[in-house]
Amino acid sequence: MSLQIGQQVNAELLRQCLTVRQRLGEGTQGEVYLVDGPGGEQVIKWYKPPQATDEQRAAIMLLVQRGPPQGDAGRRFVWPEDLVTVPGNRQFGYLMRKIDTKRFCELGYVWAHPKVQPNFATLCRICHEMCRSYRALHRMGYCYRDISAGNLLFDPQSGEILICDNDNIGVNRQSKCQVWGTIEYMAPELIRGEAAPSTETDLHSLAVFLFLLWVWHHPMHGKMEYEIRAWDLPAKKKVYGTTPVFVFHPTDNRNELPNDPDYATARKRWNYCPGVLQEYFLEAFMTGLVNPAGRVSESRWESLFLQLADNIIPCPACQAHNLWDPASPALTCWHCRRPVALPPKLMVVHPGGKNYLLLRDAAKILRRHVDPYAPDGETVIGEVVRNPNNPQVWGIRNLTASPWSAVMPDGTAKDIPPQRAVPINPGIKIGFGKSSAEISP
């Protein structure tokens, strides 16, 4: 039974009385209402009778009691805040915060132009925040089960994200669920009925969504989908589940993009992706399709998007922002197709792997560049500066309280005290505690 406008409902744990103000919509599982209470305007999802099961009630209570992941990563989840009931009614719902839909939108709004298209830096932030939040969720032992464009909203100006529809979150490989995902995003083994939703199937959905964000196209929508006339369930199962082939597979052309104008955008945007991002997508949709354990993890995606964002370089001719690929010796502007001169680079070897940084004018070296596990990762520890007496001479100023150790190209060792700069010359090595770095041309 639906709720009535003006009806009173109870937030169980908060012991608050809420008044139903407006019906906002309806989904597979329930109806969504705007409510008013001591906490101001909030939203409730009210389950339909078949979905208002004891299991779902227990699942919501568990989510309410355990709460979202901690920190910024957790705050991005529009998490169930309380169980909502009506006396004498077996149905129930849950309370959540209201979303600012003027600011946050789905990807489709960007495609159709009502919202501005995020630039590369913003896109990197959206992807980074998303991967970070799902990693935090997975580390709590949960799986999300329905990662899709409809459940993730973002601010196309700032890159902030919100993750909605969190009531299907459950304990990885343990708890039962009413939703197995949205078929376009579901892992092949899930569609084939060989596995249940898990963090591994979440990783496939995440890769599909990241691909949609970057390429504006589904990774399996190629010749196979194009040639199907009746886009029914068996057809979808074939394309996504039983015979999935990545459209940009380098050797298997069964599902390549058809020679049709529909696919021009996908081709163009794929070519905008730096090589390192293309490699991750190839891994996700080649290895990852057949080997769930081999899927690209959230932390790898996270590091990649951080590194891409850190190395965005504007084209001096047209000012378009370009993403730099460390594996590529040269950079051509994606917009005006002119070559973009690259500044010297800093290659950092740290306990978690490698990191590359373009030493552009005023570039900042952050703690996380040299120590990815540091709690104060965003602290600036160094900055690219010019010699005030000779602007042709560039250096990296030590902004920490401790000296750095540097080794010059001729092998001589030198300490770089706080507030002093090490010159940017190829071959110079710098020690940052547990990490070491080398400047290259």
Binding site: E26, G108, A112, V179, W216, D262, T265
Partner: protein
Amino acid sequence: MPCQDALAVCSWSVAGTDYLVTAVADGHGGAAYDRSHIGAALAVRAASEEFQALLFFGAAPRAPEDADAEDLAGVTRAFKADFGRLLVRRWRRYVQEDAGAWNESAPPAQDADTSLFRRYGTTLLVACVGPQSVLVGQIGDGDVLFLRADDSVAQPLPADDQKVGGETDSLSMPDAPRLFRTAVFDHEERGLLLLASDGVGNAMREGGLEKLARSVSASALSGALVQVVASLPGFLERCSSQGSGDDVTISMVILGQAKPATESLPAGAEVVAPLAEDRVVAAGPPAPASPEACSDNQGGGGSRAAGPADGNQVDGLA
């Protein structure tokens, strides 16, 4: 110059549930779009047929136990995920077939914006009214509004603020699948859905379409629907001749206690009651009264009716 607007209304019963689909297309007109009247007709045909395919085959379950269940939410998800892409593909196929009938070859791949598809360029508004919700899609200009029982008016697809100077998206654009906007909203027992080509809205003062919707809704409740619909051709003629100078088309779906037409109507207006007793469609004419009323790049006196999508289709109120 032929009328470049096209209209389609059709209905299906899927697993015992009635659905009504209506579509309005507005060909761009002008020398570069010399077959846009055909493009518009093909657009309403493609939209109707794509909705038919969606309703019959499109839903995909979100859980194994839903596999055999009637899944209205599945239709909604498939509409948002697939409809724009499949509609544009179908429309392009029809355009290529039409071009073949003119003994012309298909456009060179990757060159759609400047070749054949451009000649057929059109906007499209389409809506599917189901038992609980309305699915609306739009590419390009035109108006969609829904008058609720409490007299409030919703615009499920607000105008694109980034467009200036009459610029509009088109089915002929290479990115058309992504430019196709969708919205889904629930409806109550009573309400009125209105789709209008831009020639109508451009001829009216701000709020004019809302006023029209309220007037028709009130007449439906009072049993005076026939008289109001009978006045539509004259009203639309004035919209064109004294206002926009454009082709004008309106399609309205009235939900609730409307009384079906019992009297004959003038040419160009029609009341259709193809569904349950409580649902009536009132459709206005797609063509202005005279060719002189139209500017040279926006339309003409003729009309082209959309080809029927199936036996139930009612269209082409010329």
